[in-house]
Symmetry: C2
């Protein structure tokens, strides 16, 4: 590997509003040599996720902020190409938080080996953190019961598309909100009962009411803003709203107003509950078991939007906020199989 080039993306400046390519810097380095106890990994796919926008702000949060001048972090899948560690051997597939780069060295104990039972990029999406987010958010935070009425925003995304299919597997009536007819068609192909294109639907409260004449039991919140207000206007007594994300707000330069109708939560006995997936990894074995079962039964499908080249990772990330992705957005930064 001597003198092999590595490329990585560093945070150049903190975004104000929607990030631009100027906030990122592509840096070329030399692939490092693994020391004692270390492994050298070549990443195949790296993840870009909406939550990373929050880490670009310098503030106290549940994950520490990214630092200017440092390589960004995020989920990645790759393969061990050299090893000085008994924990992982050459050829092992590994996951890590060392994304936004092509190569890295790490202590053998700090990468997580896995046996791919599906294309490896799946482990950044439906079979990884976003899928687990959908699972914990819908079943534990949303306390979904079989046969309920479920509304999902950002429904064709990495999390939303899994939420929709879990709800369908549980015999629910499911409506997804999306931003294009192409995404609506994709959702229909997954078995979702109805879709709302929020860009063309006009009055969102009325559109949601038309889709839910009997109201909503669980609204899975990925968006915030008008979506949350429209959902609250249509909730049933005892309804639950897992707060997973509010992508509409991540790039706001001024805090936008919250739902004007929040007081309706009193009379309706609604529960709005925020969560981060890291608090719910006790459900991981259940998640893997159920996802394997549903996939086998044809009830769980997924796809990725793949952008090629680590140099395009910033564009892929920015594209998340423009709705460029169907399913999980990933960046291919190396071959699927490096050795």
């Amino acid at each position: 590997m001597d003198n092999q080039k590595n490329r990585e993306i560093r945070l150049k400046s903190r975004p104000v509003g929607l990030p631009t390519s100027d906030n990122f810097e592509l840096v070329e380095t030399t692939v490092p040599t693994p020391g004692a106890g270390q492994v050298l990994v070549r990443n195949s796919y790296i993840s870009v996720d909406p939550y990373m926008r929050g880490r670009m702000v310098d503030r106290k949060s549940y994950v520490p902020p990214f630092q200017i001048g440092e390589t960004l972090q995020g989920h990645a899948v790759g393969q061990v190409v050299a090893s000085n560690s008994p924990a992982a051997k050459v050829g092992d597939f590994v996951q890590s938080m060392n994304g936004w780069r092509e190569w890295y060295v790490a202590d053998g104990a700090q990468v997580q080996k896995f046996e791919p039972a599906a294309p490896i990029q799946s482990y950044l999406g439906a079979l990884g953190m976003p899928g687990m987010t959908a699972y914990a958010g819908l079943l534990r935070i949303g306390a979904l019961k079989d046969g309920e009425r479920v509304f999902v925003s950002a429904a064709s995304g990495a999390v939303g598309s899994v939420v929709c299919q879990i709800a369908k597997a549980k015999g629910c009536y499911v409506v997804g909100s999306v931003g294009s007819d192409e995404k609506a068609a994709y959702l229909k192909s997954l078995g979702v009962d109805a879709t709302i294109n929020y860009r063309t639907a006009g009055d969102l409260t009325a559109a949601v009411a038309a889709a839910f004449p009997e109201g909503i039991d669980v609204y899975f919140e990925n968006v915030g803003g008008a979506h949350l207000e429209a959902a609250i206007n249509n909730m049933r007594v005892g309804g639950r709203i897992p707060l997973c994300g509010m992508i509409d707000m991540y790039n706001a330069t001024e805090l936008p107003p919250g739902p004007r109708n929040l007081a309706m939560a009193i009379g309706l006995g609604l529960t709005l509950r925020g969560f981060v997936v890291s608090s719910h990894y006790d459900m991981l074995a259940d998640f893997h078991r159920d996802m394997a079962k549903w996939a086998k039964e044809g009830k769980m499908k997924w796809r990725e939007t793949v952008v090629d080249g680590v140099e395009h990772a910033p564009e892929a990330f920015i594209g998340l906020f423009k709705g460029d992705n169907v399913g999980k957005m990933v960046v291919r930064v190396g071959p699927d199989k490096a050795v």
Copy 2:
């Protein structure tokens, strides 16, 4: 009782914004004569409550709207003065929803007898619906644990003052928000650890932060608006916000914006949960048992703001939104003991 005069308050017009006396009509009638199976009751005290503002709007809600030209309804305590029913005899103390009037007849089965163990107006306040609201809201909806940090808005009111004392009885650190120094002094006399006078505190988020250097576990929400936003800014991970009322919004002619910082609920894993007390009467026996115990131990005190005369009930009601009351606002419409 022949030709004895009864006075009652009817809804004359639906309020827009803060109600005015013009929205109400005092009507003089003749005390009715009880028919077969009926009782005649003379009310001693009637209740005015913030939630009644919602019933003055013509909309679908968890309680049906008041109708124009009809006598208003609400909790009342009084005494049976004539009876044709085996269910209640002359002299029995009874509760009902036949408030806003001096006298009424009802089927014997439709009034609720009780044995006063405290001044009867207490059964409209700390020992009645507002006390039960505090109990269910803090312990079930708020899932309070001993020793937690509790913030209460409208803290000297009928519900808030009971919330504060339950939390103190559970060994919690308790801070109440009030609108006057007199109310703050009252709360201190109840054992509350600290108070915030929101009218003079300036930046409410900073004032709450100063009172809660380690953050808030449970915020009991009676107010909405700036209070909710300030509380969310200071919540601890896993915090809970029972949504009991949002009195700041009840008279709004346009829906005011919700909390701009609601997205913080995601990272902090907050739960916001609305409730109405009528869904929680399975806790009634526990409530009575605990309140009697706490009162005996000197841990639960209460007082009422008493307005005299049914003709002043509209002013008493309007006064709720101006902060005229300390503790429960009631209207004395007859003698404590009628027979």
